[in-house]
Amino acid sequence: MKRAITIATGVATAALFATSAYAGTLQEVQKRGTLSCGVSTGLPGFSELDSHGNMTGLDADVCRAVAAAVLGDASKVSFKPLTAKERFTALSSGEIDMLSRNTTWTLTRDTSLGLNFTGVSYYDGQGFMVKKDLGVNSAKDLDGATVCLQAGTTTELNVSDYFREHGMKYTLVAVETSSASRSAFDSGRCDVLTTDRSQLAALRTKMADPSSVVVLPEIISKEPLGPVVRQGDDQWFNIVKWTLYALINAEEMGVTSATEDAAKTDNNPGIKRLVGTEGDMGTKLGLSADWAYNAIKQVGNYSEVFERNVGVNTPVGLARGQNALWTDGGLQYAPPVR
């Protein structure tokens, strides 16, 4: 009931004071001096507190890039950890300015929640993880299995579709957070843990014995994950969208946080426009000319963000795969900054 009251209060606040909350997010963020960004309650590689109490991860760095572009300082982010169930209410009530919390872009969410997805920061797909000693090699052998997952996510619908399509039965254990689903799986409450494959890799690092589990080869869904903003504030929507594109464009142009100062004097007009020495890209967004420069300088380009948080040299250990640039055969493609 306490939770009901919390959500109800949030909803009521959203409904009553929406006018002040959904227009002029940029001005509000600038006035406040910090960006309020919704992240997960703890998912290694995407948004998790490190041992020093700093929020780290790919999703967290997207927040930082937006803060750098808008406020000129990537550290001016106040992170709000949210469960899957709380996230959309927190955004539409104006408690957060943007949501960067491994959230799948779907038609229903885009149309019925009063929210807009600004792009894709990570292309993902849902997978299954089982204990090795179960002796299962394919998701098609999972008839009758007990499946653990996080409540309030698209994975709940995908897993139901998949088992129905293949005429298999399953028992569903839906828990509140992704770490709770991991511990339920770890302690043997269920046979299978299912979520996005990037999350499986991340949760695996937290298992008692990571080598005792195996991820099955099947990918049962498309999960494009990206930042979300409120509908009805096009300027803010553009800022978040183009900040993400700036990071991807920077990678494509070979601009990194280290080489960016040198890039300022580069002869390539595209790079000049990106780092703000030519054109008025910042003004068009309502930002300063060095918006993208700040984001790339302080956070890094997409490749740097990826490799630092979830890349092959991190505990999560994900290859670029479909998140490689389009020029490398991947799906990451940003419209030009011009």
């Binding site: 009931m1 939770r3 009901a4 959500i7 109800a8 949030g10 909803v11 009521a12 959203a14 409904a15 009553l16 929406a18 006018t19 959904y22 899957a84 169930k85 959309f88 209410t89 539409s92 229903t108 969410r109 149309t111 019925s112 929640l113 009063g114 179960l134 999972l142 008839d143 009758g144 299995a145 007990t146 409540a151 309030g152 996510t153 709940e156 619908l157 897993v159 139901s160 579709d161 088992f163 129905r164 399953y170 028992t171 569903l172 254990v173 839906a174 828990v175 509140e176 709770a180 511990s183 339920a184 302690s187 043997g188 409450r189 046979d191 409120r230 509908q231 009805g232």
Partner: protein, 399 residues
């Protein structure tokens, strides 16, 4: 009384005074005004909410009720699969909430009464054990207790393959408790008819015994006679019919146990925690109720020659009930509302299923939170109404 006097005076005075000095008129006007302001207030909130949500592009209305839910639920008392509607998820959640509330109230009452009486026992270890139990469990937050029973106790149980078992028919493992389920065979109808017949006979017998006692003072051992009838009569018919019942034993097939009755660990943990937590409060209420009956009543009963048992049963408890029932109602209400903590461990109650997943998949927070709150309100009012009726029946009938 003073109210009517006042009105009478007002009415006699009203003939001479102008209308706005008339107290009756004034009170009606002020009440109409207050009601009007209240209606206006809620209407403003309502219309403001709707228009703001529309401006934000949030879908409103109850169209979602009949669309396909598309997700599975761990436990359901009615037939449910992922092709059913969101409306059905509401009933699945509601029934699970009702189940846990009813079971919790039942067990908490029994344990609470036993512990409450035990705390007053003259037997030192029994009284002390009851005291320690009450003082420990009622002072630990309920959520912690639920998480403790779920994680620390139930989760440490073995994998289905290495289940703890009692005679290869009852199994306990990390997936829950599995019991054999009775399957009625041919002719079992006679056994259940015999049971219903026994219930009717018991009813008549108790009425007869009460009447006889009131007329002649002679007592009849109704309790033991009833128990005997209820067990023996259907039992004899059962044997005559050749034991027409088989047991469906749970068996490990594939990943999990199939067959029999499976009770999920989430239900066990939640029931356990709710029961033992609420029972501590009920025990204290019972103790207070018994101590609230003056000792003179016990002495008077002893003087009339009643032994300890009948004194407690016939003299003390009926009087104590009048003190016990009102606070007991509050505890029942607390238990029913506390059952919403189920969401912490994934028991699929109304809050977890309907206000959780359904809300999240449809995004219609205002409607769903509203419905859920209304359900808890109705449930609480129903419990409270029932207990008030019971309280009236138990109240001192003044002769």
């Amino acid at each position: 009384m003073s109210q009517t006097d006042h009105t009478d005076q007002a009415q006699s005075a009203s003939a001479k005074t102008v209308i706005w000095n008339d107290p009756t008129f004034r009170s009606i006007v002020s009440q109409v005004l207050a009601a009007g302001v209240l209606v206006w207030f809620f209407y403003t909130i309502f219309s403001n909410t709707l228009s703001n949500m529309e401006r934000q592009g949030i879908t409103t209305g109850f169209a979602f009720w009949n669309s396909t839910a598309g997700y599975g639920i761990l436990m359901s008392l009615i037939d449910y699969d992922s092709t059913d509607t969101y409306g059905r998820t509401f009933f699945v959640g509601l029934l699970n909430t009702v189940l846990i509330s009813v079971l919790g109230i039942f067990f908490a009452t029994i344990i609470g009464f036993i512990v409450g009486v035990a705390r007053l026992s003259k037997n030192w270890p029994i009284a002390k054990i009851a005291t320690v139990y009450v003082e420990t469990l009622r002072n630990i937050p309920l959520l912690l207790q639920i998480l403790f029973w779920y994680n620390a106790v139930l989760r440490t149980l073995p994998h289905p393959r290495d289940s703890l078992t009692l005679g290869e028919s009852i199994f306990l493992n990390s997936r829950g408790l599995y019991l054999p389920s009775p399957v009625p065979g041919l002719g079992f109808g006679f056994v259940s008819s015999a049971f219903y017949l026994a219930v009717v006979v018991v009813f008549i017998m108790v009425r007869w015994a009460n009447k006889r006692q009131e007329e002649t003072g002679q007592q009849f051992p109704s309790f033991w006679a009833s128990v005997g009838l209820l067990i023996a009569f259907p039992g004899v018919v059962f044997l005559i019919m050749g034991a027409p019942m088989t047991l469906d034993y749970p068996a490990l097939k594939g990943f999990n146990f199939q067959g029999g009755i499976g009770i999920i660990p989430e239900l066990l943990a939640l029931l356990w925690a709710l029961t033992f937590y609420t029972a501590t409060f009920i025990a204290e209420i019972v103790r207070a109720g018994i101590l609230g009956v003056s000792h003179g009543q016990t002495e008077a009963a002893h003087a009339l020659g009643l032994r300890n048992g009948p004194t407690l049963r016939l003299v003390v408890i009926p009087q104590a009930m009048r003190i016990i029932i009102p606070p007991l109602t509050s505890q029942y209400l607390n238990l029913a509302k506390n059952s919403s903590l189920a969401t912490a461990i994934g028991y699929p109650d109304l809050v977890a299923v309907f206000m959780g997943t359904t809300l999240n998949q449809t995004g219609q927070a205002v409607e769903i939170v509203g419905i859920t709150m209304a359900v808890y309100l109705v449930m609480s009012l129903a419990i409270s109404g029932l207990m008030n009726w019971f309280n009236k029946r138990m109240a001192l009938s003044e002769r």
